[in-house]
Assembly symmetry: C2
Homo-oligomer: 431 residues x 2
Amino acid sequence: MKQTITVGLLGLGTVGSGVVEILHDHKERIQHKTGCDVTIKAALVNDPSKKRELPTSSTLLTDRHEDITNDPDIDVIVEVMGGIDHTFTILMEAIKNGKHIVTANKDLIAKHGAELFEACQENKCDLFYEASVAGGIPVIRSIMDGLSSDRITKMMGIVNGTTNYIMTKMAQEGVDFDSVLKEAQDLGFAEADPTADVDGLDAARKMTILSILGFSMPYQLEDVDVKGIRGISLEDIKYAEELGYRIKLIGIAENDESGVSVSVEPTLLPIHHPLSSVNDEYNAVYVYGDAIGETMFYGPGAGKLPTATAVVSDLIAVLKNIRLGTTGTAYVQPQFPTQVKAKQQQWTKKYLRLQVQDQPGTLNEMTHIFAEYGISFDQIIQRSSEKEDQREIMMVTHQVSEEDFEKARQDLEGLASVKSIDSIFRVEGGN
Amino acid sequence: MKQTITVGLLGLGTVGSGVVEILHDHKERIQHKTGCDVTIKAALVNDPSKKRELPTSSTLLTDRHEDITNDPDIDVIVEVMGGIDHTFTILMEAIKNGKHIVTANKDLIAKHGAELFEACQENKCDLFYEASVAGGIPVIRSIMDGLSSDRITKMMGIVNGTTNYIMTKMAQEGVDFDSVLKEAQDLGFAEADPTADVDGLDAARKMTILSILGFSMPYQLEDVDVKGIRGISLEDIKYAEELGYRIKLIGIAENDESGVSVSVEPTLLPIHHPLSSVNDEYNAVYVYGDAIGETMFYGPGAGKLPTATAVVSDLIAVLKNIRLGTTGTAYVQPQFPTQVKAKQQQWTKKYLRLQVQDQPGTLNEMTHIFAEYGISFDQIIQRSSEKEDQREIMMVTHQVSEEDFEKARQDLEGLASVKSIDSIFRVEGGN
């Protein structure tokens, strides 16, 4: 049995140096758990000549990935450099050379997961990617193993820390979106280009990965409906609170007899729902199963050490498999073909905020439209508006199909008495 | 490779029939995931002649455990009958016959876990016990695999559904302990003899199992400090709320350089702490790790199908190991010897409620005692009492050693102006 497992790092940035730190600090623990030592032989970096605290003085720093993917000594490749297509090419090369892969790269897995898994199976290699969703929370493993006997019907996730941080600050401190974003960028919580986070793409990638795994179906990123948080105003947050809800950016994946729908959008959740208490940069994934009922996994969704914890836990799983001679057996092909539910068939509750003319008959005109499409209401609030001759109305509907709701929305926009529809959000839970 | 795995059930009560149900309903899913079929060949029951919906018509019902433990066809034994010493004897016999074990029995694992694991290692058998702690929540697996790279420093658990249900009802509906207990018994949430739940023993067993695993140390049930929920009054719940806290029965396991302390006791938690929102019969385990920071696992702590989900997920893990030829390799001996922290060395915050004489100098006498032992306060509330010449005082201290606090408590009791000390509870979090 091998006594030493040799690792090559692709990337030595924040997460990469976290991996080095954990492997160093927990050397004895890992030795005890796996019965072998881990050595980092080489690390791919942009500039090998740059001074840095090396993994160890004997670790080769290189800017040529072949030094790692072609090195016959290296057993496992830890990919923490990010990127999609170029990284994919490198990893496919590595897998052909028999390297096992641990990656934290959600973009890569969401786009090329299936091809990578296939290559791994052919070459009896392991591929683990716990860190790609919800950072340090072991949610991939929980779905794969802990809930393996159950049929998962729905998953709701707060899977993007940046947007959750922004929405928490907006709600708790009453500061508007642009100011909080600026602050988050200054603190390093948000990227200089926040698009992927703020517009929901990052969350969509993670929901794709969860859906493939949870529903055992090769769901595509392109089939996720994505709406980001730019349109959320402080007014909406305040009114939601008054109606008994918090607004969060929620990824929702649902699986029923008519297919699977996956979306990422600002969603009103009842204040007492466990996800409503997930604040700041924390992540959580709420899973519904036929047998389990409801369960939630909560923790840090990003950060150097939490993410590195997930990477090294995956690495430990690979080490065990290498020693037991069972690499390449963890992956299970999706059981079902993808069945995307048509948008029109989706039923949800909706929150609307609109400005209307303050005159007799306005509300009646509106309720007439809703009645026509069979849409009924859970709650309605009417308020005076900033403009004297207008009123602001907030409504929460009961379940309505997207198709009917869209028709009603168009009819509403056609009313002279409706000045503007300011916000429309999905509502989960409640009555 | 084996195409069919044969299971023997010890027990066919609530959880046992849940296991049968899941194996039946999710037959194809399990077949897909593991590549083999599962057959239940025999079940141990008290009265084989009793009419019941059998697992299948070909399943042998027997009241002789030897029919199962000695049957060479049976690969895996699923123990869902409960009991400690007698069950232990049966399982040891089964392990000697090479049977793999899946159990939901916390009492057994807390008391005889080490011996069972040793026997399993000798006989290359698997032993899984996910359902023994927190029902359907895959917390054992998360600690064992998902957080395997981290050093766990503290775990806080709401691990008893009955007491959490009682405390939730008390807090939300203002009904006293006895009435809620009665209602819970009528609804089947509480046993006719509620002692093990209400007095904290059940939670203590689960915390023992978590501590052994999380701290890699053979911690003993006898070393857990246990205090149940009988002493909690509606007044305490109300005052705690006013001070910004909820009272929950919390199992706390801590590991620092001076050793490990494990306790189960009513504890005040800040209202915004994620555990404070864990209501009704739900369970949750909050884990602190050096690298991960804080993470929480939430879900149903009991119930037929949630518990059976955990059992069948364990069974799937055994199936995979049988097919891969890697049974008996999952268990890792504890890395460290047990080091129980002396009670006096433990530091916590405390909540006190006392009745005092309404006369000049009373508060001064009290604060003098606290000052003597270096105990300072986070919050104090004084109220009028039901008795006209008395006042009620609620205090929350800063961190204090158990030793100093006990001395102060004794001195307080010696004061003529202190009529009674009604409640003392631990406080977690806050400043």
